[in-house]
């Protein structure tokens, strides 16, 4: 019975790690392909939440199910869940902070620009 439960935990963890690997590869390709900074922010959040948070949860579940690790598996699972929690909170907050500072200081050029509603609200020119 316990073996079946461990196997189920490992399979769920592997599925999460595979989702994370796909997100990670997609984010790294998009970081190269996207044209400017404000579009690359999308690739950053795909890479930090989909590419780091999801495989950390999956690795924690794998560690919980791996009986060959002995008592070490509780430590590894707790550490990976803690790291996943920090990544989940701080990834979004950090990307918001850097986006706001970049927009206000105008340090990145918005080259292919189609709409800029923040500038329109302030009464400036569109784009």
């Amino acid at each position: 019975m316990i073996d079946i439960l461990n196997l189920i935990l490992i399979i769920i963890g592997k599925i999460l790690v595979v989702i994370g690997l796909i997100c990670d590869l997609a984010a790294s390709i998009l970081m190269i392909r996207f044209p400017n900074f404000y579009v690359r922010l999308h690739a950053l959040t795909v890479g930090s939440i989909g590419g780091a948070f999801v495989p950390m949860i999956g690795a924690g579940l794998i560690a919980l199910g791996s009986t060959f690790l002995g008592n070490l598996r509780w430590f590894l699972a707790g550490g990976s869940f803690t790291t996943a929690f920090f990544t989940f909170i701080l990834g979004g907050a950090g990307s918001h902070a850097i986006a706001r500072a970049t927009y206000r200081s105008k340090s990145a050029v918005m080259k292919p620009c189609y709409v800029d509603q923040l500038a329109e609200d302030k009464g400036g020119t569109e784009c």
Binding site: D3, N6, L7, I10, K14, V17, G20, L21, D24, L25, A27, S28, I29, M31, I32, F37, R40, L41, A43, L44, G47, S48, G51, A52, P55, M56, A59, G60, I62, A63, G65, S66, T67, F68, L69, L72, F75, L76, G79, S80, T82, T83, F86, T87, L90, G91, A93, G94, S95, A97, I98, R100, A101, T102, R104, S105, S107, A108, V109
Partner: protein, 96 residues
């Protein structure tokens, strides 16, 4: 149990290392050639969070608990570099 769990886990995690290394190299290209400072900083962000996930996977693979502590500290430092760079970009000073 007929299935060898250790074999199953270590084979899968060893294969996932290759995908991580490919994405590290792609992020590194953006860090080296990024035209502005915020471009480089978001590439470093993504690289750092992925490196933390990579450390977690390596610690299961090598059966060592030391790398987990490195992963937690790395996630916090990446947030710190975000805040420092955004404060510098907005106010042009780092504060006291």
């Amino acid at each position: 149990m007929l299935i060898n769990i250790e074999n199953l886990v270590t084979t899968f995690l060893s294969l996932s290392i290759a995908v991580y290394i490919v994405s590290f190299l792609l992020y590194l290209i953006r860090i080296l050639k990024g035209p502005t400072i915020p471009d480089m900083v978001i590439a470093v962000d993504a690289l750092g969070y992925d490196l933390a996930a990579f450390f977690v996977i390596l610690s299961i693979l090598f059966k060592t608990p030391i790398l987990i502590g490195c992963a937690i500290v790395l996630a916090l430092w990446i947030y710190a570099i975000d805040i420092y760079v955004s404060k510098y970009l907005e106010f042009k000073e780092l504060g006291d």
